[in-house]
């Protein structure tokens, strides 16, 4: 190892620059993988025993509240809750955060990952004009329990205002702490007076089932209840439901994934260039070594070793930079990516990328050196 470090020190400027390039590339690679992971975070945070039922036409269409009793009666269903996407605007469009009008008691029972103090929970359940916000969204806007939060409706016209009754925390890192909940009853009463034709409607039903293994069977059982009705349903696991959102923007995700590999290829080219230059300068040394009786494996080890040490050192620093960078990015774009954390898989992939940059960059120079005969090498100009 020290031997290679001394080799690198022979041209510190060049190797240092290359190392810096690798630091940047590995950090960029790590960040891009984390962005892709963040996209899937919603699907990762789901539970296997929860099913989501929505209108079969598309999410824009609602389902009658009357379905509640019928879904409850399905054997194997232990609990049913429901929610509407509220889609209000807080002050202006830039302050986006997800808002749902839910049936609070069953919803909170079904999502134990939203951790909430008992007194706040009771206060929220009791107040039909109350609201519950995630820790991150409350911090973002500086809300405290008791504050009044005005929202301008886009889907449900008019101005709405809610009193913040509680702030929940996530039970683990995976839990989304940017959501905002209000009472479905509040919304419904308001619709009854203003737009009666849209009242008594539910966006999605969330169903808890007794055993996750029965998900497929129970999904079909629920959908069968409403076949050939005016509002046919589509029931799937919560994970499949979340993944269907990811799938809609899949093209962008694929592009980001491709680009994360492009940066590795760019740095491979830069690294290969550096190694090629080092090797070119030392052609006579290698030829001398070979004339002294050192075989090709020794020469290969010399070139590959230097390349790998630069790549791995750069990779290690790059990875070390990724963590604080991700933390800052996550804090800044929390509304876009509620969960933004570097996964173990990303760490492994970044390490593998750095190592492969080291190996691939050494390949052509090694091949060229071995192809040069000893006498050619000895006679070459340094």
């Amino acid at each position: 190892m020290w031997f290679f470090v001394r080799l690198i020190l022979r041209n510190l400027g060049r190797n240092g620059l290359t190392g810096l390039g690798i630091v940047i590339a590995i950090a960029a690679f790590g960040m891009l993988r984390t962005v892709v992971d963040a996209w899937y975070a919603g699907a990762e945070a789901t539970a296997a025993d929860r099913l989501v039922t929505r209108n079969a036409i598309s999410l824009v269409f609602t389902l009658p509240i009357a379905y509640l009793q019928r879904i409850r009666q399905v054997e194997g269903v232990t609990r049913v809750s429901y929610a509407n996407w509220f889609g209000g605007v807080y002050i202006n469009e830039k302050n986006f955060f997800p808002q749902f009008a839910v049936e609070p008691e069953s919803y909170l029972a079904m999502y134990p990952e939203f951790v909430l103090a008992d007194d706040e929970k009771i206060a929220f359940l009791r107040d039909r004009h109350g609201a519950l916000a995630g820790r991150k969204v409350a911090e973002r806007f500086g809300w405290k329990v008791g504050d009044t939060i005005p929202l301008r409706g886009t889907i449900f016209p008019g101005n709405h205002s809610f009193v913040l009754r509680g702030i929940y925390r996530g039970a683990d890192r995976k839990t989304d702490e940017t959501q905002f909940f209000i009472h479905w009853q509040y919304l419904n009463e308001r619709l009854k007076t203003e737009q009666a034709s849209r009242a008594e409607q539910v966006g999605i039903y969330i169903t808890q089932i007794d055993r996750p293994a029965r998900a497929a069977e129970l999904s079909q059982a629920i959908d069968r209840l409403f076949q050939n009705s005016l509002a046919e349903t589509l029931t799937e696991t919560e994970k499949a439901f979340q993944l269907s959102f990811v799938a809609m923007t899949e093209t962008i995700l694929v592009a980001i994934e491709i680009v994360s590999f492009v940066v590795i290829i760019i740095i491979m080219a830069v690294m290969a260039n550096t190694i090629a230059m080092s090797v070119r300068e030392r052609r006579r040394e290698y030829a001398t070594l070979r004339a002294l009786g050192f075989g090709p494996p020794y020469v290969i080890a010399l070139i590959l070793g230097e390349s790998l040490v630069i790549a791995l050192l750069g990779g290690a620093i790059g990875l070390a930079v990724t963590f604080p960078a991700a933390a800052r990015f996550g804090a800044r774009f929390g509304s876009l990516f509620p969960i933004f954390a570097v996964s173990d898989e990303t760490v492994v992939l970044s390490g593998a990328a750095a190592a492969s940059v080291g190996v691939v960059a050494a390949a052509v120079p090694v091949w060229r050196t071995l192809r040069t005969s000893v006498s050619e090498g000895l006679s070459s100009l340094g």
């Binding site: 960029a28 036409i57 598309s58 016209p157 034709s197 923007t249 940066v263 740095i267 080219a269």
Partner: protein, 388 residues
């Protein structure tokens, strides 16, 4: 006296591997840079071209998209009889009451469902969109369960090919025609008879009203008049502006993502250029000494090496833009977050993007070449002639 251009150019070919690797790295950066701009451009052109500047689009106040909007029959009737709207040959106002809903349809290739926009139009709806023409089959019959599909999605979703059928709202809808709407958002939509679609979806209100202004210059006055009418709870936009607004979020996202990435990546490529150019200077120390001895000034040496770096950048730029221009044959289909529906658009290369990409490449080359060129220019004649 200047060092001949050819000197800088030919030096690049002396060390082909190094030049190729460095220019290749830059080419990839330029490729990422230009594809991001091309994608943004394609998206904007598609949505801007969707609207027509003479048309106004009316949606419910506070709703941002046609899908969220609802306009009841009474208000729609007031809107379609406004005197500011142009008349057609039969003396009817040139306006269309439209209903827009999203339908989750599985993609043919992957089976994964995505949201497709279905637009129900009134009889004058087609006339308001001159950019639209039928390319296969025929128009739907008013009052029937027939639909026509845009060329960008025809066949891409299950049942959307000519002669196919799509089931929703307890009915089978026959695909009787395919229309070409050029590079517009309409090309990703399904169209049918508005009243039939409203019945199928059990809704009693329209999503939007589109009308052709008799005098497009009076837009502001018309907007004022409609929005202050106490019978109406609507907002009025030019159709072009409405669609341009819909591209805002996605195109900003693509642009910021693309530019951030290419800036970070360009650091890597610049480092590559620095290494290459330092190498070039180190290898040619004696040559530089000779040039100086022949009477070339420090400034000429500086320029010769800067030019070499610039050429390096330009080679990378040409390769990168060349690769990116191939992307023009690719159509991207993804969800537009603002409308929650599928939209197809193509990578569009404009001369401005080409110029920006080349400038970017040149800047990378020059930035990488500055320090090495300065070192070359500062070499001492005697020392450099003595160098091994």
């Amino acid at each position: 006296m200047a060092v001949p251009l050819l000197y800088s150019w030919k030096n690049l070919w002396v060390r082909k591997l190094t030049t190729l690797l460095t220019a290749g790295g830059m080419a990839l950066v330029v490729y990422v840079f230009s594809t991001a701009l091309m994608l943004t451009e394609g998206l904007q052109q598609t949505l801007v071209a969707t609207g027509s500047p003479d048309n106004i689009l009316v949606i419910r106040r506070g709703s941002e998209t046609e899908v969220q909007s609802s306009i009841d029959r009474e208000q729609a009737a007031i809107l379609t009889s406004l005197s500011e709207i142009a008349l057609n040959a039969d003396g009817r106002r040139r306006a269309s009451r439209e209903v827009l809903v999203l339908l989750g349809l599985p993609k043919n290739k992957t089976g994964v469902p995505s949201n497709v926009t279905i637009r129900g139009i009134s009889r004058d709806g087609l006339e308001l969109r001159p950019q639209l023409r039928m390319v296969a089959g025929r128009l739907f019959q008013p009052g029937s369960s027939e639909i026509i599909v845009g060329n960008k999605i025809a066949g891409a979703f299950r049942g959307t090919q000519l002669g196919g059928s799509v089931r929703f709202g307890l009915r089978d809808w026959a695909v009787v025609g395919v229309f070409d709407a050029g590079n517009t958002g309409f090309a990703s939509e399904i169209w049918g008879d508005g009243e039939q679609l409203m019945q199928a979806f059990r809704r009693n209100s329209y999503s939007s009203v589109i009308g052709k202004l008799a005098n497009p210059a009076r837009f502001e006055a018309v907007k004022q008049r409609i929005e202050s009418d106490p019978r109406l709870t609507v907002e009025v936009k030019r159709e072009t502006q409405f669609y341009a607004d819909q591209s805002e979020m996605l195109s900003n996202f693509l642009k910021i993502l693309g530019i951030t990435l290419s800036t970070i990546f360009s650091l890597g490529a610049i480092i590559g250029a620095v290494i290459t150019m330092y190498g070039a200077v180190a290898n040619r120390t004696r040559e530089i000494g000779t040039l100086r001895a022949l009477g070339f000034r420090r400034g000429s040496i500086l320029i010769a090496f800067l030019l070499e770096a610039a050429f390096l950048g330009l080679i990378g730029g040409v390769l990168g833009v060349g690769m990116a221009s191939l992307m023009q044959f690719v159509t991207i289909s993804t969800m537009n977050w603002q409308t929650f529906s599928e939209l197809a658009f193509t990578f569009t290369l404009t001369p401005a993007i080409g110029a920006k990409a080349m400038a970017f490449a040149l800047a990378m080359g020059l930035l990488g070449g500055v320090l090495p060129a300065v070192r070359a220019a500062r070499l001492d004649i005697i020392d450099s002639l003595r160098a091994a």
